[in-house]
Symmetry: C2
Subunit: 345 residues, 2 copies
DNA sequence: GGAGCTATTGTATACGTAAACACCAGAACC
DNA sequence: GGTTCTGGTGTTTACGTATACAATAGCTCC
């Protein structure tokens, strides 16, 4: 039934024997070394195909402590932003016969630590960490093993650890200017989980964007969310409970904006005629809700590439302070933003 | 700076030497063998912690051809259903220090083949395949290597390959009965990509549910989608272009329902007063749209567990025809379904 | 008290690879 | 024609683990 009936050992030596060459030559062919004569290489490749030989990378991992695998630690696979990033990372890696090892933290530190351990066990060649709050203490074990790390939005580099950050400032600025042109003057903001560094950064970006647009910041128009739908929903309800309201709401990410939209629907407030809403991330589903979300689209492919570039640089000269990259989002205007309503302004 | 300054070799032998035992004992402790005296085990564990020793699974993979890694092949990480399943699979695996290796096919056969190869390279202990169309030819290489496979919704088992299917029949039936009780008699259906086996299965389930509910099937009320938002949107528009319309639409999955909702919004048709919509899958975002989607929630945790159970069984006795499991969804009624409108019925 | 048993520990080994190094034939050069 | 170089290939080796097997001490049982 099965072509290989009696589980013959399959390794480079058996291939070499069949091809009449040495195992080193087989290895060279497989790794695309240019030192092999073309005819020899072709012949070896033919034998490999004939035998359906599949090399065993764990031997390499064992001997040379490199796995051709990169780790990705994300907080939450339920937020489509992360699987979409994973997809882009996978695409970039698979091209070079590399793999990605995903671990989720569920926003819990215990799970972050367990994820870090998983990365060490599997001897990954580098790690991309998107976990919200990354304290140096948590990633220390990785650094000790001299494995390159890239964090996202930590905006801090240390020896062995680079960072790729999303330029919230420019994104927020584009969104704020867009709203200003539509006549909005009273802008609100629904942030991330209170106390998190990333939430702080994004709120600051909002404040700064207001400043640059010559609009005033009103602390009463700001509420914390939790990066998820229910957080955006609750925050929006809190904002709607007040007598004076903003005419437009910016949010920390698309899911939060979804929550805000849901709360507005529940309150019978029309979007965008009575309230404009802007998201951030540009997840694929952002144009599946009604009204379609105006949002700042983060270029995931570019981000994935920069992460890998950063890891590459770190591998070249570990020990030195890691590289800092930044990616810029693009405001995509859709149905959730519109001219400010006459009635209130 | 780094605790381990001059990269001492770290392996079970060095641990054993420090602990005054043999490497076999260290191995036994790490693998939780009960054959070790408790005091010895405790002592070894202390030394392991002291040395921050991390075992190297690639040695095991190399020697025993088992990687403690399971593969997951999905068509599309942009559909939240798949990352949500991945999350559940990961949770179930990580408990036992096992990993999951994800590969996406993007609905393309070339990518399925490349994914299969990746699984073989990494010597996975089993594979869960959710790719829509799985022809035996594509997975043959895995079968030849005697690696257990579970497919999803293939509803076919062969030696070495089991299947876990979602019981569309019961889910559709619950949805149809729900709509019937609301007074609907004219039910439409937006299916998956035309020609795919899974699409066929789901359409049949719909037809059968109609039959059992004593409702008539109207082929004009059926359109194909593509499992994505745009497909649902286009299909809904096609249905709305007709003079006589159904009063309720069932869909092949939640994304398709999202698309249908979007088309309905665009046509100014109110949901659920003028048209009811039912999804399938129960992705987390199904209650983030407006109106919140009535949908059949698939129990992902149970599904993940059954997949692993099936793989386990296959490992025990490969060669025999694989096990067939089934999971049942639960209808969750939300805002997208309501009583049929008087005007049309 | 010896045979048999159990609990606990130790010894030795093979898995497949990439790279360091060795080797050789032929070309190039004076 | 000897020397040097280079393109192409072969030989050898170590990586860290789980397990089969061996070994020992202490115990039970008649």
């Amino acid at each position: 039934m099965s072509p290989r009936s009696a589980a013959q050992p399959q390794n480079m030596r058996t291939v070499a024997r069949r091809a009449g060459v040495s195992s080193a030559t087989v290895s060279r062919v497989i790794n695309g070394s240019s030192a092999v004569k073309k005819e020899t290489a072709d012949h070896v490749r033919r034998v490999i195909a004939e035998m359906k030989f599949i090399p065993n990378p764990s031997a390499t991992t064992l001997k040379y402590n490199r796995s051709n695998t990169y780790g990705l630690i994300v907080p939450d696979l339920n937020n489509p932003f992360f699987p979409e990033f994973l997809l882009n990372l996978e695409e970039a890696l698979v091209k070079n016969d590399q793999e990605v090892l995903v671990a989720t933290t569920q926003w819990r530190e215990a799970q972050l630590n367990s994820s870090v351990r998983r990365m060490l066990l599997r001897r990954v060649d580098g790690v991309v960490i998107m976990a919200s709050e990354v304290e140096t203490r948590s990633i220390e074990p990785i650094l000790e093993h001299r494995i390159p790390i890239v964090t996202i939005d930590r905006r801090k580099a240390e020896p062995g650890c680079g960072d790729v950050c999303i330029d919230f400032e420019s994104g927020m600025q584009a969104a704020v200017l867009h709203l200003k042109h539509l006549g909005h003057r009273r802008l609100g903001f629904i942030g991330g989980t209170d106390g998190l560094r990333t939430s702080q950064i994004r709120l600051r970006a909002f404040q700064r964007a207001l400043q640059e647009a010559d609009l005033s910041f009103n602390e009463q128009f700001v509420r914390a969310g939790n990066y998820r739908v229910d957080g955006g929903d609750a925050a929006m309800r809190a904002l709607l409970g007040r007598a004076d309201r903003p005419t437009a709401i910016l949010t920390v990410n698309d899911l939060t904006a979804f929550g805000a939209l849901r709360a507005l629907h529940a309150y019978g407030i029309e979007v965008p005629t009575q309230m404009s809403v802007v998201g951030f991330d540009g997840i694929q589903l952002s144009d599946a809700v009604h009204p379609a979300l105006t949002t700042v689209v983060v270029p995931l492919k570019e981000m994935a590439k920069k992460c890998l570039d950063a890891l590459e640089k770190l591998k070249k000269n570990t020990g030195r302070r890691g590289p800092l990259f930044s990616v810029e989002g693009t405001l995509v205007v859709r149905g959730s933003t519109g001219p400010v309503s006459r009635s209130r302004s």
